[in-house]
């Protein structure tokens, strides 16, 4: 029995209008993502990686084409339906951690567990990212890598089916970046969460089940590494 399809995209386009000018961020993307996959999106700035991730995560809608999450058609969903979809199914991790400075690590995660349907306890989510001992620390008392791990704990606490990461190591040094990648890989492997990671760093591609290369709003290449590497095995 084949693994179920999580996302199906057909002919996705996205055009931004800036006054008279039109910017074509996506120019017809066809894509299928299966449950439990670890996908890395590679490509230069302006290639459409973030736009694609935002449409997959329900933060944006396509100009044309169709995007489905399972049987659900996201391209026709209204704002309320997209909010519900994000709340129930998607965890986001961005380059910047977007933590609330006046809340502790546990309370930042609780922001999500307070409204999710069947979340894991905040302490458990933090234990998953290796911060079980730092539950009551405020963001200002944590390093950049630790803050990013709190952000990951916040993303996974709702037990999402999909974890979407946009440059999660972009603001981190080498060692800390690897630590964060290890956490994402562990979540993908042990919780079965489908993970999509945007990066400029081609070395990270070695961790993926599949690597999609974007260029000029299109998928210009797809590779499957012969052997999936652990974060410890990659270097850049």
């Amino acid at each position: 029995m084949s693994t179920p399809v999580v996302f199906t995209a057909r002919g996705l386009t996205k055009v931004y209008r800036m006054g008279e000018a039109e910017v074509h961020a996506l120019r017809g993307v066809d894509l299928e993502i299966r449950a439990g996959e670890f996908i890395v999106l590679l490509g230069p700035s302006g290639s459409g990686k973030s736009t694609l991730l935002n449409i997959l995560g329900g933060l944006d809608t396509p100009t044309s084409g169709e995007i489905r999450f399972g049987e659900k058609n996201l391209s026709r969903a209204d704002e309320a339906a997209l909010t519900r979809f994000r709340r129930e199914h998607v965890g986001f991790v961005f380059q910047f951690y977007n933590l609330i400075p006046s809340l502790t690590a546990r309370e930042n995660v609780a922001l999500v567990t307070d409204i999710a349907a069947s979340p894991m306890p905040a302490a458990e989510a933090l234990a998953w990212v290796g911060l079980g001992e730092r539950l009551d620390h405020f963001p200002s008392q944590l390093s950049g890598g630790e803050q990013q791990r709190v952000a990951i704990a916040r993303a996974i606490a709702k037990r999402p089916q999909v974890l979407l990461c946009d440059e999660p190591t972009g603001a981190l040094d080498y060692e800390t970046g690897k630590l964060v990648l290890e956490v994402i890989a562990k979540i993908n492997a042990e919780l079965g969460t489908t993970a999509l990671v945007i990066t400029h760093n081609a070395a990270i591609a070695g961790m993926a089940d599949r690597v999609l290369k974007l260029g000029n709003g299109r998928i210009v290449g797809e590779t499957k590494p012969e052997r999936k590497l652990s974060p410890a095995e990659i270097s850049w």
Partner: protein
């Protein structure tokens, strides 16, 4: 407590100085608003209470010379409850050593009875003896502005004849809280209101059996335009100058 509630509580605590300042500013604003509101309410209440106790008229009209027989006709206007007629004339007033002469508004009053409306409040002195000629009550502010004393005399030119009038009392009336002759700014040094014996005043100006000022009290406390129009129609042939409701009365 939910995480968002904690965030709110901590953010407020970290901004406590600003929050306290803003709260104080708001509290001051509310206090000022309540203060102004209650002062206004209190002033309106006091005014209304004073008007009620003085039975301040609801409609005011003046004419050149109207016969006393018109009273019944005026009383028949729908909504009219009470009618009071009187003689009111302006005359030159002089005080020894003061030049130029001043203006006195002489209002005829029957001191033997309580007037039906625009009742006077005696502030000092006494009422003139009923029927006594040459005694007047003056508005308090003129007396004070001129530094006069009760018992002093003023001279008034009544229809070409100089009369000496003795100031025997001071009074207040809602009709002349804002004492002005023609609607300008009040000038208490140069404009006096004198209440004098009605019969003597009528005789001096050849107004016996007639009146040139009429006051009305209305059933609902306000004058409907139709009543004002009816009063104007009645007084028109007698030099009526146009009736006004209390809201347009200058002192109000």
């Amino acid at each position: 407590m939910r995480a968002l509630d904690r965030k709110l509580a901590r953010d407020l605590w970290s901004l406590k100085t600003q929050v306290l300042s803003i709260a104080l500013v708001i509290a001051c604003g509310i206090a000022a608003f309540i203060g102004s509101f209650s002062t206004h309410y209190s002033l309106v209440w006091s005014r209304d209470h004073y008007y009620a106790s003085a039975r301040f008229a609801h409609v005011f009209a003046n004419a050149k010379r109207a016969p006393g027989s018109l009273v019944e006709k005026i009383r028949a206007v729908p909504g009219v409850v009470e009618v009071e007629t009187r003689v009111v004339r302006d005359a030159q007033l002089s005080i020894e050593g003061v030049s130029p002469p001043m203006i006195a508004r002489l209002i005829g009053a029957d001191f033997a009875r309580l007037p039906a409306m625009n009742r006077l409040t005696l502030k000092s002195g006494r009422w003139p003896a009923p029927g006594a000629r040459g005694e007047v009550v003056v508005n308090q502010r003129f007396l004070e502005a001129r530094g006069l004393k009760l018992g002093e005399r003023v001279q008034v030119l009544l229809n070409g004849k100089l009369e000496r009038l003795t100031l025997v009392g001071t009074a207040l009336t809602p009709e002349y809280i804002y004492a002005t002759r023609g609607g300008g700014m009040p000038d208490d040094e140069w404009f006096a209101v004198l209440w004098t014996d009605a019969q003597a005043l009528a005789a001096a100006f050849n107004m016996e059996g007639a009146f040139n000022s009429v006051l009305l009290r209305m059933e609902k406390g306000t004058a409907p335009p139709a009543a004002i129009d009816a009063l104007d129609a009645i007084l028109g042939p007698y030099g009526g100058l146009g009736a006004v409701g209390r809201e347009d009365q200058i002192s109000h």
